[in-house]
Symmetry: C2
Subunit: 420 residues, 2 copies
């Protein structure tokens, strides 16, 4: 069966690989490019932390169940990926050390530890001295911490490169272009540069967009899904971009690795993480802002460096390699969106041929393996893992719009959608 | 007459242009490239401030006289350059505002003001309120300042590009390569990549370096001059690299220019400058370290951003565009080196055919115009401006070397120099 996957980040590339491996004829459409300075892919800017608990919020049981399913599946998926490609993705299993710098932080870490224990995850309370034994370069004012042995991290860029290589090896055809609109079994594709970031007027105006067809279309376009004509309004309006700014530092030859575990800390009220890579890189992140620009701001770079130096003073001796900003696909309930959709107004997906796999927010890499499994199952006529149950697109409704001045209440009209 | 200029930064390019314009047949040899991340040119990393006093040290009268000659000449040279090329170099004449944040700084500024007045330069003492009238985004704790009306700034990269264009238009032939050694009327050139940063063993070993000949050879290789075989030891050992790290910020569309004048300040003991560009860039600099690597360090980026935000808090709202490091050519007496040399050991310049124009330290751009004038004069058999008198290469002597352990005092043997 012909499948088009829209979006070549970790979600789209993972789906394309696994679907092709399951026997589908897959075309992956992506604007292309690997440069985090110019290419709009949250995958390129991520830190690659895989922690099922620290990224989720207490009480979001459905999301926690999904994350636990994800972290359980990730290592075998990654092993298959490395096996299939010969690539190394830089999976690290040393675990995460959460560090507290005052008694309030320490109390919060204790609550997190109890929570982890309650759901059967490992977590070990460490004294300040034990923390420094694990990480000798920690600032001397660290008061204590919690060591989460099961948390993983992966090199996001190596992982994405491996997924692409696996997809190519499995026969996925890659098309470089910007999808401007989708409809039943069709997508309109403009060449990069012809269209802006939004759905182009070209297609409606009969412009240069070409049309590709397939039996099933999978939308894995991250935050840009909200701008894609033909995706139901309820899904589009549920997705929002959340800007994240992140630094990549490098060890000069003369300096030994300043960290061997992922370190998390709350510094001056900011949640900070430092993720070491096998190749000597140290990722420092991340800001979280409700904005949709990808500018790296002087203030954000300053704050990240200041906080990182407070947590691990030797960070000042590292080389400043990169500062980047990306847009994560947040959703209105912070959960991902996965499953077939029925289009509103008959514009798209009336027969369930349109599948959404988007809104992975800060957990795209961790969720990529089980997202690929789930979409491959759906394409093969099977049910995805039950942990996905609460994350179907149907849970969203088009929000009521505030009435225009002088107009009576009641109308929730959708905006006109471009058709092919 | 045939002239080879070694080095294509602002000094080399300015010399090449003016010498060609004066009728010489000029070849400019440079490793090439314009990317400050990879190309080793102090010109690319500079801020482009042209201030005859603030960069010099009290009491260095010879250097002050040279700087005054330089700042007087620069505008007409720049006008000729813009006229010859049609380029705009971004010369700004708004002046420099030095700001004090405590009474000690204020007293230092008063001394500087007296000094400027004593040598006939403009300088106006301003109250805090007057400072903020000139620059409304200054931090509220600024105590006062001094406005130096005559100081200039220029966009270093536009200026370099214009010099290159002018040189090309005047018939200068450009050779991309790394000069590994010089001798009477000859230079050995390796292709970029064949040689490291130092003088290659290739030439001594009869490797792939090719030899170019000319009647006169001008060495304008900045800090790399110290590594050039055939340059007299006394000159080589007088030059040292001084690392500088600098930031380039950009105004997002929504923000008006945060500064219209160059602003200097001492913040937490660090000398800071902020140089606005007509195209919306704001240059923040610079560190000064006795190191010879070009790594941008996390600690330096942090400190520059912190100090800039202390001086002008709105800096946090600017886009972080670039962080770069360059190596300025310092000298043992902080003065530039200009004039013909007589080689030691007969290796080079025995007939005065070798001319040095290097060691311009932090004032390369300001001094570039008068350096080009001086070298062109020397090539034409005339005397350079008398302000250059104290800056001839002959003022340096090979330093005594510490004796090796167990060896008696007395020997100050030069190391063997590579010959072609």
């Amino acid at each position: 069966m012909d499948v088009i996957v829209v979006g070549g980040g970790v979600i789209g590339a993972a789906i394309a690989w696994r679907a092709a491996r399951a026997g589908e004829r897959v075309t992956l459409i992506d604007p292309g490019g690997d440069d985090p300075r110019t290419d709009d892919k949250a995958s390129l800017v991520a830190a690659g932390m895989l922690g099922p608990v620290s990224e989720s919020v207490f009480g979001e049981q459905d999301l926690l169940d999904l994350n636990l399913h994800a972290i359980e599946r990730f290592p075998s998926f990654n092993a298959e990926l490395e096996e299939a490609t010969g690539h190394t993705t830089g999976l690290r299993t040393e675990g995460t050390l959460a560090v507290a710098y005052d008694s309030g932080d320490l109390a919060a870490l204790d609550r997190l530890t109890d929570f982890r224990h309650g759901i059967g995850l490992q977590a070990e309370r460490l004294s300040a001295r034990e923390c420094r034994k694990l990480e000798p370069f920690l600032a001397p004012n660290a008061m204590g911490g919690v060591f989460a042995k099961g948390d993983l991290s992966v090199d996001n860029r190596r992982y994405l490169a491996a997924l692409r290589a696996a997809a190519a090896a499995a026969g996925v055809q890659r098309v470089t272009g910007i999808v401007t609109a989708v409809d039943e079994g069709q997508v309109a594709v403009a060449a990069p540069g012809e269209s802006g970031t939004g759905p182009a007027a070209d297609s409606a105006a009969g412009g240069p967009a070409r049309v590709l067809t397939a039996h099933r279309i999978v939308i894995a376009a991250g935050h840009a899904t909200r701008q894609l004509a033909g995706v139901p309004d309820a899904v589009r309006t549920a997705i929002r971009p959340v800007k994240g700014q992140i630094l990549r530092l490098r060890h000069p030859g003369s300096i030994p690795p300043v960290l061997t575990h992922t370190v998390r800390a709350i510094v001056q009220g900011h949640d900070l993480y430092l993720v070491p890579r096998a190749d000597g890189e140290l990722v420092v992140g991340a800001t979280q802002e409700e904005r949709d620009d990808r500018d790296v701001m002087a203030g954000a770079v300053h704050d990240l460096l200041r906080d990182a130096q407070i947590a691990v003073p030797a960070v000042s001796e590292l080389v400043f390699a990169e500062a980047n900003a990306g847009l994560r696909p947040g959703t209105s309930d912070n959960g991902p969106i996965l499953g077939p959709v029925t289009g509103t107004g008959g514009a798209a997906g009336g027969d369930g041929s349109l599948i959404i796999a988007a809104g992975h927010f800060r957990n795209g890499i961790m969720l990529s393996a089980i997202t690929a499994d789930a979409v491959t199952a759906i394409l093969g006529g099977q049910a995805p893992h039950p942990a996905w149950g609460p994350f179907q697109p149907g849970r969203f409704r088009v929000p009521d719009r505030p009435p225009a001045a002088g107009v009576s209440l009641g109308g929730t009209a959708s905006p006109g959608e471009a058709t092919l």
